[in-house]
């Protein structure tokens, strides 16, 4: 029981942490592949923020999250950097 509580506590801490991935300077399909690797290590519901400079990554992350069961919560651009906030889904 104590172990299970510890496990849940760990999950909660992990949930609150926003993972960061710097994919700037990488070209398709590497930003998505790197994000996919990080997402695989995350728990369902956790957030990942990816920054990229490849213009194609805008369409890529829209399509990738849609086809792999994740949620693209928000995306924005600032100073030539594209940022994507992704919530890990259950079916990835």
């Amino acid at each position: 029981m104590r172990d299970r509580l510890q496990e849940l506590k760990g999950d909660k801490e992990q949930m609150e942490e926003i993972m960061q991935l710097n994919a700037q300077g990488l070209h398709c399909p590497l930003p998505v592949l790197k994000a996919k690797k990080v997402l695989a290590s995350m728990v369902v519901g956790q957030l990942l923020e990816v920054s990229a400079t490849d213009e194609d990554s805008v369409r890529d992350f829209e399509a990738f999250t849609r086809s792999h069961g994740h949620l693209l919560l928000k995306s924005w651009q600032a100073n030539g950097v594209f940022v994507f906030l992704i919530q890990k889904g259950e079916t990835s």
């Binding site: 399909p29 592949l33 690797k37």
Partner: protein, 507 residues
């Protein structure tokens, strides 16, 4: 040698009879190479989308013409007259072949390949409509019908295709109309290919023209992949709004290597635009401080000595195609395409790109595919080295299109069995490059059932011996594989100096 010494076929011969007669009359159809197995065999040339073999009739016409060769732009001596008239005939022959009325259209020969033509038409529209700085192009364009527009206009947007990923079809007409509405008043022209150089999928160019014209945009069509394969009607459509404003192709796709790029363009579009290439042959008078450009088309757009020999060679090849009849050419090609597609579909590991529902998305005979377990470079190299099948691989100068069709496969790379964590951690562009491409098979007039059978048999055979073949090759980077032992010296097969030496020695 004069024309009388050639064994001439009946000049009245037309249709399928003529096609059967000339099918083997291509230079290189009997080329043999020694393979990695040490066996010598005849090449199966399945790379016609890149460059076709040369039609012997076109070559014979060129050789015969050389007896009279002289520069054009003169009608004084016999040879100059012959050259000038033959060069003018080449223009007229191409207009007629494309159903483009010479009253409305002009034919311009430019550069080698279609790239010069696309650069020129982009600059023409930039100068004709300087306030309209947006160009719409389809996602499936060859770089030659993409980058020139980016170079000469502020905004270039890609029009999506129907379907998704590897199952995409032709241009999405609804998406085109959405873009035309969104940028209404600012779209200078729409540039699309008539048929993809990657998948062979055909775009509905006349429907595209009608829609673009309704929004005040011109239409440029890349005809490189269709002109030798299907009948083209540039300027005799009903209603006229379905006509094409500029149709561009290259002679090296029409059985006439060494011939120029061709732009058939509406006179109204080009008549008042100042030429950017200046020099001899396009001026009436030149003074120390100024010059007077000739109003005559195509002269004003063909500065300098033209590729006279190439233009005549090309027009001769087109004459033969016209005599066969493009309906017969396309029917024959469709028969072989069906055979190829059905054969590939029977191979479970084969992944065919682009929708192959031919009733919905017709194609010319070009098919891009991959074989699970083989990188595209390895597959194409094995087909060459062990089976003498010449195909092309990589991205075929259409990166955005190829990328879009491969995306899901590339995203799945991390779940491949041969990828462990260490490899993933060192993933780099080189690793991707080996997998970011396809193998393309493309047919020509000389392609036979035997060529298709040889290809399909080779794929089945190599697919059953994956480990053997994988061990024979080393990855060289940039998608290239090289056989560990079989590295023939290509200069021993042909080197220009050897031919020069041979002829001089035998003088």
């Amino acid at each position: 040698m004069t024309l009388n010494t050639y064994e001439r076929c009946n000049p009245q011969m037309r249709g399928l009879d003529l096609l059967q007669k000339i099918r083997t009359d291509f230079i290189g159809i009997d080329t043999h190479y020694t393979l990695a197995t040490a066996k010598r065999s005849k090449r199966h040339f399945l790379d016609s989308a890149a460059s076709t073999l040369m039609m012997k009739t076109a070559q014979a016409t060129a050789f015969e013409f050389l007896n009279h060769y002289s520069n054009t732009h003169s009608i004084t001596h016999f040879s100059a007259r012959i050259s000038t008239e033959a060069y003018e005939w080449a223009h007229a022959r191409i207009l007629s072949f494309l159903h483009a009325d010479p009253e409305d259209y002009t034919c311009i020969f430019l550069g080698s390949g279609s790239t010069s033509c696309f650069n020129r038409i982009s600059k023409i529209f930039r100068d004709l409509k300087p306030d309209q700085n947006t160009v719409l192009i389809s996602l499936m364009e060859h770089h030659s019908n993409d980058l020139p527009h980016r170079q000469h206009h502020d905004n270039v947007f890609h029009i999506p295709l129907e379907g998704e990923g590897r199952h995409m079809g032709h241009l999405n007409m609804i998406a085109l109309e959405d873009l035309l509405q969104k940028y209404q008043g600012d779209v200078s022209y729409v540039a699309v290919t008539a048929a993809s150089n990657v998948t062979g999928i055909i775009n509905p160019i006349h429907e595209i023209a009608q829609l673009a014209h309704a929004y005040g945009a011109y239409v440029v069509v890349d005809g490189s992949q269709i002109v030798a394969r299907q009948s083209v009607n540039v300027g005799h459509n009903v209603p006229h709004s379905r006509n094409i404003d500029a149709f561009i192709f290259s002679g090296h796709k029409v059985y006439a290597p060494g011939s120029p790029g061709v732009m058939v363009v509406r006179r109204e579009v080009i008549q008042d635009v100042v030429p950017t290439n200046v020099g001899g042959g396009m001026v009436n008078r030149v003074f120390r401080q100024s010059y007077e450009v000739s109003p005559k088309l195509p002269d004003r757009e063909e500065a300098g000595t033209p590729n006279i020999l190439g233009a005549i060679t090309l027009a001769a090849a087109i004459e033969v195609l016209d005599r066969i009849g493009m309906d017969i050419v396309s029917k024959e090609e469709e028969r072989l395409l069906q055979m190829l597609l059905l054969g590939l579909q029977d191979i479970p590991e084969a992944i065919i790109y682009g929708s192959y529902d031919l009733s919905r998305y017709p194609r010319v005979a070009t098919v891009a595919f991959n074989l699970a377990g083989f990188d595209h470079g390895l597959l194409a190299t094995i087909l060459n080295d062990y089976y003498n099948v010449a195909v092309r691989n990589d991205c075929f100068c259409a990166h955005p299109y190829v990328r879009e069709m491969l995306l899901q496969e590339l995203w799945d790379l991390d779940v491949l069995n041969d990828l462990n964590q260490d490899v993933f951690d060192h993933l780099d562009q080189e690793f991707i490059k080996a997998r970011q491409g396809m193998v393309r098979v493309s047919l020509g007039l000389y392609t036979t059932e035997r060529d298709i059978e040889a290809l399909l048999a080779a794929i089945c055979d190599l697919n059953s011996q994956h480990d053997f073949y994988a061990q024979q090759y080393s990855y060289q980077g940039n998608g290239v594989y090289r056989h560990n032992e079989f590295q023939p010296n290509h200069t021993s097969l042909f080197h220009p100096q050897d031919v020069v030496n041979f002829f001089l020695k035998n003088k």
